[in-house]
């Protein structure tokens, strides 16, 4: 592939939403950019539940080409079936067809001037003065691509950040193991509401979801459990849970598995000539596992900072650290808060989850964190020990 026989200013590894946005920003700023994707098809295989809170803010129209459904909010189910409704803020958004959406974003990067190499796997990085030699395999041949900056957007399985000396590996219980059937004939409470099911038997250390997607719905779950596998929880959820009745006529049209790194961001997301973006950087909500929007936004920042540094002819970590400053200003607090909430939730027994749902009432709208905690401890003082640190 001729794309692999050239040198670049910026090489982005991984054509998910984060990598494609980084490539887009970098190429748009006139910097010579290569986006490398290991699969022969961008966007495949899909590994997630496909919900994203916002796309318009990136200047992308929510086109029916990839938007399968508009989401107005979520319904949370406690283990015994108590419902709590949320309809505002980040609970709204879209369910997209990831394999089309991801490809759309890659095409958008290509049209902005980025070159793209597909079916190409990065197998190593070598430092060469102020440059990187990116070792790439394509159809069994090895290519060496010289670049000034590498943006590692290679997902949960990121080895590229590690090749560059950054710590990106996770502990097993820091990764939520997910399994999902996309199904048709799912009976929904509301075709525009996402459903979330909690409970230690339903999905230990995570939750189960039904995300409506138009004619289908993503029915899946994520767990953090040393004993029982996600797939076994999933079969159980379909056969024998609060949702079973609504799933009795449902049948799969796709199977998806994934690992969501839900332990918060990695320690450092930059070094000389390298930036880390998206799941690889832990830019994903530790509470919901939502990461498409964060990866896109941080990818955009990485592409901006990388191209600026190329133009100023200095891509040392002193300049690239601007990236971490920018994304932390915007998203760090959110990520750490979600990590805190998740750590509380995972301590609760099923009875306590039911008590929490009772205390919260039917609707969470118009409630801030202080009111939220106040509601819990007035109604269920026994839960105070878990929530007192939040106020």
């Amino acid at each position: 592939m001729r794309e692999l026989m050239d040198s670049y200013d910026v090489v982005v590894v991984g054509a998910g939403p984060g990598g494609s946005m980084a490539s887009y920003a970098s190429a748009k700023n006139g910097v010579k950019t290569l986006l490398i994707e290991k699969s022969q098809e961008i966007g495949e295989p899909v590994r997630c539940a496909e919900a994203i809170p916002s796309i318009e803010e990136f200047g992308i129209k929510p086109s029916p080409e990839f938007v399968r459904n508009i989401i107005k909010g979520g319904i949370l189910f406690s283990p015994s079936g108590k419902k709590v409704v949320v309809t505002q803020g980040k609970a709204q958004g879209f369910v997209v067809e990831r394999k089309i959406f991801d490809k759309y974003l890659a095409v958008r990067a290509g049209r902005a001037g980025a070159k793209i190499a597909v079916k190409s796997t990065v197998v190593g990085l070598e430092r060469d003065g102020d440059y990187w030699n990116v070792i790439v395999e394509f159809l069994g041949e090895e290519y060496v691509v010289k670049t000034k900056i590498v943006i590692a957007a290679d997902g949960v399985e990121s080895n590229v950040a590690e090749y560059a000396g950054l710590k990106a590996k996770k502990k097993p219980l820091d990764i939520c193991s997910c399994a999902e059937y996309e199904m048709t004939n799912v009976e929904l409470f509301d075709k525009n509401m996402m459903e979330f099911y909690f409970g230690n038997d339903v999905a230990k250390g995570g939750y189960a979801w039904i995300f409506p997607k138009g004619e289908t719905a993503n029915v899946g779950l994520g767990v953090r459990d040393k004993k029982k596998k996600a797939i076994d929880y999933l079969e159980e959820f379909i056969e024998n849970s609060l949702a079973s009745d609504k799933l009795k006529n449902a049948t799969p049209v796709e199977f998806k598995v994934g690992g969501a790194p839900v332990s918060g961001p990695i320690e450092k997301t930059y070094a000389d000539g390298i930036l880390v973006v998206g799941d690889a950087a832990g830019q994903i909500s530790p509470l919901t596992g939502g990461g498409i929007y964060l990866a896109m936004d941080c990818g955009l920042m990485a592409g901006e900072v990388a191209s600026k540094s190329i133009k100023s002819n200095n891509w040392s970590e002193d300049v690239l650290k601007e990236y971490e400053k920018l994304w932390k200003e915007k998203h760090y607090e959110y990520l750490l808060n979600h990590l805190k909430y998740r750590k509380i939730l995972e301590k609760l027994s099923d009875d306590e989850l039911d008590a929490l749902a009772e205390a919260l009432g039917d609707n969470l709208d118009g409630i801030d964190l202080k009111k939220f905690v106040k509601r819990i401890i007035t109604k269920k003082p026994s839960l105070l020990k878990y929530f007192k640190d939040l106020i």
């Binding site: 699969s39 949960v156 690992g259």
Partner: protein, 57 residues
């Protein structure tokens, strides 16, 4: 060394994400474990959603 049951594997890459020795690579749809680098820590076995990895007992 950990063995991959390719009939169960869903090629999600979760195993790669926990391998501190960088012994695992997901090359397109194929998980490849480097025998020389695998330390038999079995962390990948825990994280696999599909029980596709078998550790040495």
């Amino acid at each position: 060394m950990v063995k991959v049951n390719y009939k169960r594997c869903g090629y999600c890459g979760a195993c790669v994400g926990v391998c501190e020795n960088l012994a695992i690579n997901l090359i397109e749809h194929i998980v490849v474990i480097d025998e020389k680098k695998c330390s038999d820590c079995n962390l990948c076995v825990i994280v696999c959603p599909l029980n596709a990895l078998e550790g040495e007992k």
